[in-house]
Amino acid sequence: MVQSSKRQLLKGAAAAVGAAAFAPSLFAQAGPVRIGYAIARTGPWTGGAQVSQEPNYLLWAEQVNAAGGLDVKGTKRPIELISSDDRSDIETCVRSYEKLMGSDKVDLILPPWGSNANFAIAPLANRMGYPVLAPTALSRKLVELKLPNFFLLLQQPDRMVGALVDMLVANGVKTVAVIYVDDLFGLENFSALKVALRSTSIQVVEEKSYPGDIKDLSPVLRSIKDKNPEAFIGLSYPPDTILASKQSKEIGFNPRFYYASVGTAFQLYRNVMTPAGAEGVLGMGSWNSKTSPGAKAYFDAHTKKFGGKEPDRWASGHCWAGLEILQAAVAKSGLDRKAIRDYIAGNTHKTIIGDVKFTGSENTATPGTVGQWQNGEFEVVWPTKVATAKLSLVKPAWK
């Protein structure tokens, strides 16, 4: 009896020591996964960031946590988002990420908004070994940096304007006029457009750049109207996309094909131009809720959570796809960032926007696309294999 109780005491002691030694790590494993990011909540980038990006981070964290947490190689752990406002300022953005990765030592990071900010943080994240899946970076130069930890989810300029030029050629367009914003986005897209047009018989009747804070495009649009091109191409950001559209309506400039870039796929565009006014306008867009059942579920959840605010039909979907990829990578590889990087780089991923596969930094599985407003919905109309609706060939008059 004495013997057996002594043995039990020893067993108990051993168990207690063992528990004391291992429990902290067990508790740590059940603790939250800390995911950091800085994004524009104030300043000029906010319009894009708060439509295409941050709402998705919030929705994703909420959905994952409601389902018990993020699957980290079989263990469910809650997501803790550590975020701050980058004030639409490159320096603040870079410093925020330095802090997140350097002193806060977060487990993972999510990217900031826009080509410029991503360009600034990409080398830093690469050096610190954090994989980044960027949904709003559009720059061939970023691809050419060949950063092993950096992945671009959007179709790059040559693919997007390539699809547009294909569509124009297929519909017998002979003349185009181009305006472009004079920053990295506008310049790269414009040069990609020039390259794509070189192998066609399409003639550029007017090309003009403008600054991002432009308040009046009517003098340029009036001179373009005088030249009567069959297609208008605006390589523009949301405020100027809307400005150009409003002013084209004002002066009665209504070519057969009217294309504007970022912001055309936003709900705001339909609100400001009205559904009838937006009818037939083309733009950068690559998915909508008809693209896949997952896309529909995402669209509905987003609209519900944010009181009717819809995701945009381009970068929002790519952002969600990036989060899907990251979630799958963590489930497979845990929080080993090198393993996450290898998983992202080495697989074809099934997402709401279709297959995503990276060749280097570039997503080469998603084709360049063209979208068009039709009856209040932004439909994918080109190329036909991913189209959600048929291209409407003649734009009705602005209403």
């Binding site: 524009a40 909540r41 104030t42 300043g43 000029p44 906010t46 319009g47 960031a49 708060q50 439509v51 639409s88 305006i179 004079d182 003009k208 750049s209 403008y210 600054p211 804070d213 432009i214 308040k215 009046d216 495009l217 009517s218 003098p219 340029v220 009036r222 001179s223 005088d226 949301p238 405020p239 809307i242 400005l243 409003k246 002013q247 309506k249 004002e250 002066i251 009665g252 912001g263 936003f266 705001l268 609100n271 400001v272 131009m273 009205t274 006014g277």
Partner: protein, 291 residues
């Protein structure tokens, strides 16, 4: 280029210039009269724009009805801000130069406060609505209804302000105040009342400008700053304190920009505006229309 195209181009420049003038009027009243360089002027314009957007999209109130409402709301806000900040500065500053420097600091503070208030209240999303955007045909040319309205009201407000300053006793008092604050006090002008009133009217005018601009442009909490810069250029062109100068300066800048953008490139717009600005500073430092 045909005569018609010329006219159309100049008309579109005049319309933009009218907007510039409207934005500059309020700032001119504050700086020209009281030496308050209100760097936050554009932020109050933004408040006027948000008030109008909110009233129109949530309550269905016509943006046109919001013109007087924005004026009164921002004027009331102006009276409060004057009482809280600038009256105290007037009392504690030993001379006008120190008052001006301190006022500038306060205005910077107000700029951040108001901008962050708007971000907090309405978030940073782009906002906008469709109102009077239908083109109005004038001969062969056509212009948006809302722009013509903005232009018309800009002329109306400038005219009213010029008439007020020139033909009324109140205006006489204000002009006296512009020429010599101490002299005005000596002849019995109640500067204690006139100051807040004029500051209030200045802010009220920025509210009107914001209300009108929201009909034609998208709005964000950061929309105000560029307008403050433009307003500064315009009042320098026209001469500090001169309302007719601000109107003429605004229209001139609008036309120069329109012609410049047509014949060169919109990317050179800032270069054009600043060239005009620097030329005026060098050649006519007291303003193009100063007597």
């Amino acid at each position: 280029m045909s005569l018609f195209s010329w006219l159309e181009l100049i008309a579109s420049g005049l319309i933009t210039g009218g907007i510039y003038a409207l934005v500059a009027l309020g700032l001119n009243l504050q700086y020209g009269l009281m030496r308050i360089l209100n760097i936050a002027h554009g932020e109050f314009l933004m408040l006027g724009a948000y008030l109008t957007w909110m009233a129109h999209t949530t309550l269905g109130i016509s943006p046109l009805l919001m013109v007087p409402v924005s004026f009164l709301a921002l004027m009331a806000l102006g009276l409060v801000i004057h009482k809280l900040c600038f009256r105290r500065l007037t009392v504690t500053s030993p001379n006008l130069d120190i008052f001006e420097a301190r006022g500038l600091m306060v205005a910077f503070g107000l700029m951040f406060l108001v901008q962050n208030f708007a971000s907090f209240m309405w978030g940073g999303d782009l906002r906008g609505y469709d109102y009077l955007a239908e083109p109005v045909k004038m001969g062969e040319a056509q212009f948006a209804g809302n722009k013509l309205l903005v232009f018309g009201l800009a002329l109306l407000f400038s005219g009213a302000l010029i008439a007020l300053l020139r033909f009324t006793l109140l205006g006489k008092g204000v002009r006296a105040l512009m020429q010599s604050p101490t002299g005005a006090q000596l002849v019995g002008i109640d500067t204690q009342r006139l100051h807040p009133l004029m500051f209030g009217i200045g802010l009220g005018l920025s509210g009107v400008a914001g209300c009108l601009l929201s009909m034609a442009y998208t709005i964000t909490p950061s929309m105000g700053e560029p307008y403050t810069v433009t307003a500064l250029i315009v009042i320098t062109l026209g001469g500090f304190g001169s309302m007719s100068g601000a109107l003429a300066g605004g229209l001139l800048l609008g036309v120069v920009e329109a012609l410049g953008m047509h014949f060169t490139n919109p990317s050179l717009k800032a270069l054009l505006s600043y060239s005009v600005f620097i030329a005026v500073l060098l050649l006519r430092p007291r303003g193009l229309f100063a007597k």
